[in-house]
């Protein structure tokens, strides 16, 4: 396990890279680094019991939105120096379904309804990229979250109508979104359990900041609470 001193060093390093103003970040690559840094910092802060997690999540949500707004703005150029042959294409890898899901969860968890609503408008063709292929269940979750972010329960229910056999965190998120759409409380423990298991399956360490953060539980419980308190998510 990573000790507190090491975590502190890691947090300082990540915080040192974060911009004070997300909108000033230029380019998709910088936006994506800002986004992942903010999530890492939030995870480390949470592990250290520090304040400021909601602010970091808000930062992540906005940086995530920026990733999609700058999608394809920078080219991936591959040149063979021997033959001079060059391949050039827009680098869209950062704008993948996982990014939008994490950005939406971060925005919801931090109560940033404006960013969540903007993320809800990212069209499906912008969620997909051949440079970062993803299983379709992530796309379904991304879309269901987009609808949930604007309070569209009916669409979420239609999206979650099928019994979901997917055992990953995304299958669990669909089940919990279905509960939310039916007006039931979200089962945070189930989400935490499935989230940890999925990261561990992907080879991440149990004390990795993204695992410690438990973003799906934070995001969906915030969604559930805001609905129950009668607020627009």
């Amino acid at each position: 396990m990573t000790d507190a001193a090491t975590r502190r060093q890691q947090l300082n390093a990540v915080r040192g890279r974060l911009s004070n103003n997300v909108t000033a970040v230029a380019g998709a690559l910088a936006a994506y680094i800002e986004f992942t840094d903010a999530l890492t910092a939030a995870g480390l802060s949470q592990a250290l019991g520090e304040d400021g997690v909601p602010d970091l999540l808000r930062h992540a949500g906005r940086a995530g939105l920026l990733v999609f707004e700058t999608r394809g703005s920078q080219d991936l150029v591959v040149t063979d120096l021997d033959t001079g042959e060059t391949i050039r294409k827009p680098d869209t890898s950062a704008a993948n379904p996982t990014t939008v899901v994490q950005a939406l969860l971060a925005a919801l968890a931090s109560g940033d309804t404006e960013t969540a609503a903007s993320l809800a408008e990212v069209p499906p063709e912008d969620l997909q990229t051949d440079q970062a292929p993803a299983p379709p269940v992530i796309l379904v979750v991304a879309t269901a979250l987009q609808r949930a972010a604007v309070g569209d329960r009916a669409s979420v229910r239609r999206l979650t109508a099928d019994p979901v056999r997917d055992a990953s965190i995304y299958g669990e998120m669909l089940r919990q979104l279905d509960r939310w759409a039916r007006g039931d409380a979200v089962d945070v423990d189930q989400l935490r359990h499935a989230d940890t298991a999925s990261w561990l399956d992907a080879g991440y360490a149990a004390d990795d900041p993204i695992v410690l953060l438990g973003l799906p539980a934070l995001g969906l419980s915030a969604l559930s609470l805001s609905e129950r308190s009668g607020q627009q998510p």
Partner: protein, 651 residues
């Protein structure tokens, strides 16, 4: 009920106009269609992409798209084949898998499309199909798809490629079994006239034959089964198909056939009258005896006998239903009295006489041919072998074995015709036998029909079914109900699994050593290339293992990330988040994922360089990325390694 993803797609399609110009989501740099599949993602294309990616979840949950897959792809199948077989900037080798996929795409085409595709590929200046054949693994070369694809090529091209495959080259004095088999397949596709010309020199066929896969690469032990069948004859209680084939073959050889017939008659009599076996109580034993007797008729008799035995083997599998009461009645009134009161003495005497005959023939033969093969018995006066030399049974069996292997290899169509003729003859023989039996039983007429998988023997004018045998059930039962076969199969399976596991362990360890050497070479080449390209660059970091960068250099305030590839260099992908989200190597998401991983490392140097890079990456132009490669390593190739240097411009 439609799946979630299907609903998702319908919804996005239905209210697309309302979403096309979002109010608060501002795309700063809209991108149109770009290179590569999936750059523009309509719902159907997304589905096609997931299908292409082999995503079983999608395949099983989503109804097939209305559009043909080809319409949704930017690349046509031929282009896909070309891309698989092309050397690109980031793809310097044609792998086994590339060859396999290319061949699969082509083999799945209609004959007309395949002919066009092959013509297109062969008219290119790039030798696509030569590369496919050259890199085809054994598992691919032996598939019908491979033969189908190469058969569409011009004969001259196939002959030239076959020669090339088995020619010795500088430092390459080995012809591998897949190469020999590929060459044979290429020649098989060539018309007889062209093939004759190609083989006129002799060396080509000789070298192919010498290097064709041996032993376990063939269907297991056909030769052994043939030999076994020839020697054991009816003493083999569980003959395989090839045993039967061999037996027919031996029967067709003069002299050997006579011996074989006597041998089979002895076995049939043993089966019929052995106290333990009590074959006389079984209808199948009687059929067998009749068939053995039929076998005494030279030539065709052996064929009928052999095929009849194959049928009997099936019948023994207990999947036969005899008309209720009929056999009992016949047995009680006709057969049993004969067996009990008449035949035993006759049978015992007949067996003894036959054995005497066999031994006498053996002695006589040994006396007449003192230098001839040992252990042969029979009537030497009936030997009809050029030069008078008497071959041993083993030699005859071997010759038969070879003849059948040759026939099976060279003329599948002819073999099929022969088999159909044999089946026809066997049916006729069965009818004749049944006619006699039923006449004794006072049935007016009989008939044999094949209906689907069933073979039905009718009797009486009302077409009352007497025997119904299901061919598939018979085959299954033979295997399942024969303890010996099952035990052997299980034992064989166990041994093969153990062998595979042992081979995997050993191969894995050896392969790892080879990979380590490849990676070491990759690093060595990287150092040379970077020194050449960036003189004075300072090495800041060398990584080890997966999930880290290979090398980082610094020159003039710019950090140079180097990915050193050893061996067949191909950019891969990595999982960048939970549940299967991946990113292609060379992309921003991949690089950031690696750096985030390194930044959390307990290795301080690794974490430090990652933090430094993540910071610098936000400033355009301060990080450059290089990929170096040794290319495909092959000590026997004219160029054992091909050095490549690629620059990936970081956005």
């Amino acid at each position: 009920m439609p799946s979630a993803l299907a609903i998702l797609m319908q919804e996005w399609e239905a209210d697309r106009p309302a979403r096309d110009r979002p109010a608060s989501y501002r795309r700063q740099h809209p991108t149109g269609p770009t290179t590569g599949i999936g750059a523009s993602f309509g719902p159907q294309r997304l589905l096609a992409l997931q299908r292409l990616a082999g995503n079983r979840a999608v395949v099983s949950r989503i109804p097939p798209p209305e559009l043909a897959l080809g319409q949704m792809m930017h690349k046509s199948p031929v282009e896909e084949v070309k891309s698989l077989l092309e050397y690109g900037v980031v793809d310097w080798a044609v792998t086994d898998d590339d060859a396999r996929r290319a061949c699969q795409i082509l083999a799945d085409m209609s004959p007309m499309d395949l002919a066009k595709a092959v013509a297109t590929l062969d008219s290119s200046s790039t030798p696509y199909l030569e590369r496919m054949v050259d890199n085809a693994p054994y598992a691919l070369v032996r598939t019908p798809g491979f033969a189908k694809v190469v058969s569409q090529r011009q004969a001259a091209r196939n002959v030239a490629l076959a020669k090339q495959l088995v020619s010795y080259k500088f430092l390459d004095w080995e012809v591998t079994p897949p190469e020999a088999l590929a060459a044979q397949t290429l020649l098989d596709s060539v018309p007889e006239g062209d093939k004759k010309d190609a083989l006129a020199e002799g060396w080509l066929q000789k070298r192919i034959q010498e290097n064709l896969p041996q032993g376990d690469d063939y269907e297991t032990g056909i030769g052994e089964q043939l030999l076994d069948g020839a020697l054991q004859g009816d003493f083999n209680e569980d003959p395989t198909f090839w045993n039967v084939v061999s037996q027919i073959g031996v029967g067709l050889v003069p002299y050997a056939g006579q011996v074989a017939d006597i041998r089979d008659l002895l076995a049939a009599i043993d089966e019929m009258f052995d106290e333990k076996k009590q074959g006389y109580k079984k209808v199948t034993s009687w059929i067998n005896l009749v068939l053995v007797l039929v076998g005494f008729v030279p030539g065709i008799g052996d064929l009928i006998k052999g095929l009849g035995k194959a049928a009997m083997k099936a019948v023994k599998g207990a999947a036969i239903k005899v008309g209720r009461g009929l056999w009992d009645k016949a047995f009680r009134h006709l057969v049993e009295p004969l067996i009990k009161h008449l035949l035993p003495d006759v049978v015992v005497k007949a067996k003894a006489r036959l054995r005497e005959l066999l031994e006498a023939r053996a002695k006589k033969l040994a006396a007449e041919h003192p230098n001839g093969p040992q252990g042969v018995s029979g009537d030497a006066s009936k030997v009809d072998v050029p030069g008078g030399a008497v071959p041993s049974i083993a030699e005859l069996s071997k010759a038969t074995d070879e003849a059948f292997v040759e026939a099976a290899k060279g003329a599948p169509r002819r073999t099929g015709r022969v088999i159909s003729e044999l089946v026809h003859d066997a049916m006729e023989a069965l009818k004749a036998w049944a006619g006699n039996v039923y006449k004794e039983l006072e049935f007016i007429r009989f008939d044999v029909e094949v209906k689907g998988d069933d073979l039905i023997l009718y009797g009486i004018s009302s077409k009352y079914p007497l025997i119904r045998a299901n061919i598939k059930t018979i085959k299954r039962d033979i295997v399942q109900k024969t303890d010996f076969i099952m035990r052997q199969l299980k034992e064989r399976d166990k041994l093969l699994k153990a062998a595979r596991a042992a081979a995997d362990d050993v191969a894995g360890a050896i392969r790892k050593e080879a990979i380590d050497i490849s990676e070491g070479l990759g690093e060595h080449i990287a150092n040379i290339l970077i020194k050449r390209e960036l003189p004075g660059a300072k090495l800041l970091f060398t990584g080890s293992g997966s999930g880290t960068l290979d090398k980082v250099f610094e020159l003039g305030g710019v950090l140079h990330v180097v990915e050193a590839k050893g061996g067949a260099g191909r950019l891969g992908s990595r999982e960048i988040a939970a549940a299967g989200q991946r990113a292609e190597q060379g992309s921003a998401a991949y690089l950031v994922s690696v750096l985030n991983n390194m930044a959390l490392s307990t290795d301080k140097a690794e974490a430090e360089i990652a933090n430094q890079l993540l910071k610098k990456l936000k400033q355009p132009g301060s990080v450059r990325m290089w990929v170096t490669s040794t290319g495909k390593l092959n000590i026997n190739a004219a160029e054992p390694l091909t050095v490549k240097l690629i620059e990936v411009a970081i956005p």
